[in-house]
Amino acid sequence: MAKTSDRSKYLISPALLIASFIVVAYGYFALTSFFPKGPPGTQFVGTPTLDNYWRVLGSGSNQAVLFSTLGASFLISLITIAVAVPMAMVIVRAKREWVGNLIMLAIAVTFLSGGVTRAYSWLILLGNRGLINLGLTNSGIVDAPIRFLYNWSGVGISITHYLLPFAVFTLIGAVRNLNPSVEEAARSLGASRTTTFWRITMPMLLPGLMVTLVLVYSIALASFLFPMLLGGGKVRMIANQIYDRMFVEYDIPYAAATAVVFLVSAFASIWLISFVAKKIEKAVS
């Protein structure tokens, strides 16, 4: 036994090496946040201070970006799951196999196409003179084009689209693990399709839903590209703020403090979600 544990030490060493690099890099970045900004070309100077944190936490606009990032990510995650559940169900259970395959293919294609391509596609679709608005105005459904771009709706749509493959792929496993007989049993005992879905299928899917929620929420939190391109500077999420502070203002300590605050609140909110999820699962079972 001693021998095998010795060997496992060697096997894990590459992972440890990489992990230590990351920890050191992050640690150094975090350390930066406790110092004043240095002259151009340096990271930081002077004596330790908490000033950067006061700047992050004290300003109303900073708080607003933080909370809107957390709130919007959560809302977008919920919407994503609401869309992904029926998709996963159809993929797994469609009687005609090609229907499932087609949806699967569509998701895989979007999954594999790059972020910039997708953001650009959404610009074409959602612009004031974009395909959707042209269709709506020409058919007379709306008089003036709906503004999708440079507000949360466009950003939300594109992030949802980005998250969808993650959610669907995760949920396919959960749906596949459902035992159809259990739903049939409910039906034969007198439950309608709707009742069966809400009282039997969803509770059985709940653990899978919670895992998916945490996954897509953490991905949504880190959104950078879509708010930048479709938000046009008007919609700002935290990653954009950090980017600006680093590469526009060159205030690395300020960026680092923002990142640390974000990281802590992200972990806290994910923990909160898992905690509530466990409570709900207990309450339902």
Binding site: S181, A185, R187, S188, L189, A191, T195, M204, S285
Partner: protein
């Protein structure tokens, strides 16, 4: 629980097609009220398809499903009033035993106090009262299936459908639950359909057995009649009859035909007769063949013993005449007669249990 008002079930030309494949073809079946009928057959014979159509989980392509004379083939499963027990138990994993059993009553809007009472009775019936607060994952397979049974009958359904209910249990448990299931079904008098591929289970539990093959019923009979007199080669083979002989008709009357077996003539009873010279098949169980001395005066087939094995209660003789291999069983305990390998014997086929198989 009191006895239910039993319903009848009739299937009329029931058909299920998938693209070009007919899973069930023009099936007609009458299940008398209060009886247990088994659909027996190998996998892919269409037995589960029939059951799932009765339950309403599969649409019928054509035909009727009559319960008490009313066609339910287009009715949604939740309005059919049918209790179903599945092979994999299919209990609601997020509900206690009690809530599982109460589910059907809740869906029917039964008053709370009556719910509690009926759930208690149903759980008592399957001896699960002490585990009412448990979750399905905390129960053994046998216990889960008892709960599933209680859940199915507590709604007093018109029909009880059992889809290989004992298939997932080990043998010891299966036998115990078999007799319980049978007692419960008799006691409630509930019209039931059982699907299984296990012939012993079918013979033990059923009032009637329908052997299915290729989407059709090959033979519908009582268990004993089916066991003793299988009517087709498929049924005989499925029920494990080793002696199925190809033969030719030598003479025929309205009550019996004479066939040639290993060059010797044998008389087999029949109610139809058969064209002289036509080929036919004969089936007879080894226990219905008596091994006698070669000088025995009765009609029979003279053959040579190729092997003899004493197995528990019986002696298994493998005999041969011409190219014909015949297995015969003799009682080991009540008889001291032994025949040696190489000895010539006369095999006397019991006419009542020798069957001229239908083509």
């Amino acid at each position: 629980m009191e006895t239910l008002k039993s319903s009848t079930l009739q299937l009329r030309q029931l058909t299920k097609k998938y693209n070009n494949f007919e899973a069930v073809r023009d099936l007609d079946l009458n299940v008398p009220s209060g009886s247990l009928l088994t659909l027996l057959g190998p996998s892919g014979c269409g037995k589960s398809t029939v059951l799932r159509m009765i339950a309403g989980f599969l649409n019928v392509t054509s035909g009727e499903i009559l319960v008490d004379g009313k066609d339910i083939s287009r009715v949604e499963p939740n309005f059919r009033d049918i209790g179903m027990v599945f092979q994999n138990y299919a209990l609601f994993p997020h509900m206690t035993v009690e809530s599982n059993v109460a589910f059907g009553l809740k869906m029917r809007g039964v008053a709370k106090h009556e719910q509690a009472e009926r759930v208690r009775d149903a759980l008592a019936m399957v001896q699960m009262t002490h585990l009412a607060d448990r979750y399905p994952s905390q129960l053994s397979g046998g216990q889960q299936q008892r709960v599933a049974l209680a859940r199915a009958v507590v709604i007093k359904p018109k029909l009880l459908l059992l889809d290989e209910p004992l298939g997932a249990l080990d043998r010891h448990l299966r036998e115990g639950l078999q007799s319980e299931l049978r007692d419960l079904q008799r006691q409630l008098g509930i019209t039931s359909i059982l699907v299984t591929h296990d012939q012993d289970e079918a013979l033990y539990l059923s009032d009637y057995i329908a052997v299915m093959n290729g989407g059709c019923i090959e033979q519908l009979d009582t268990p004993i009649a089916l066991y003793d007199r299988p009517q087709t080669e498929f049924v005989a083979r499925f029920l494990g009859v080793p002696n199925i002989f190809a033969s030719t008709v030598v003479a025929s009357s309205s009550s019996e035909v004479t066939v040639s077996l290993g060059g010797q003539n044998i008389i087999v009873p029949t109610d139809t007769g058969k064209t002289v010279g036509s080929s036919c098949k004969i089936s007879v169980r080894p226990s219905h063949i008596e091994v006698a001395r070669s000088e025995d005066p009765r009609q029979g087939v003279t053959a040579v013993i190729k092997s003899a094995h004493e197995l528990g209660e019986r002696i298994v003789y493998h005999c041969e005449v011409a190219d014909l291999k015949i297995e015969a069983n003799a009682p080991r305990i009540s008889s001291s007669e032994r025949f040696a390998v190489g000895q010539s014997v006369k095999l006397v086929l019991d006419p009542a249990h020798t069957v001229l198989l239908r083509d």
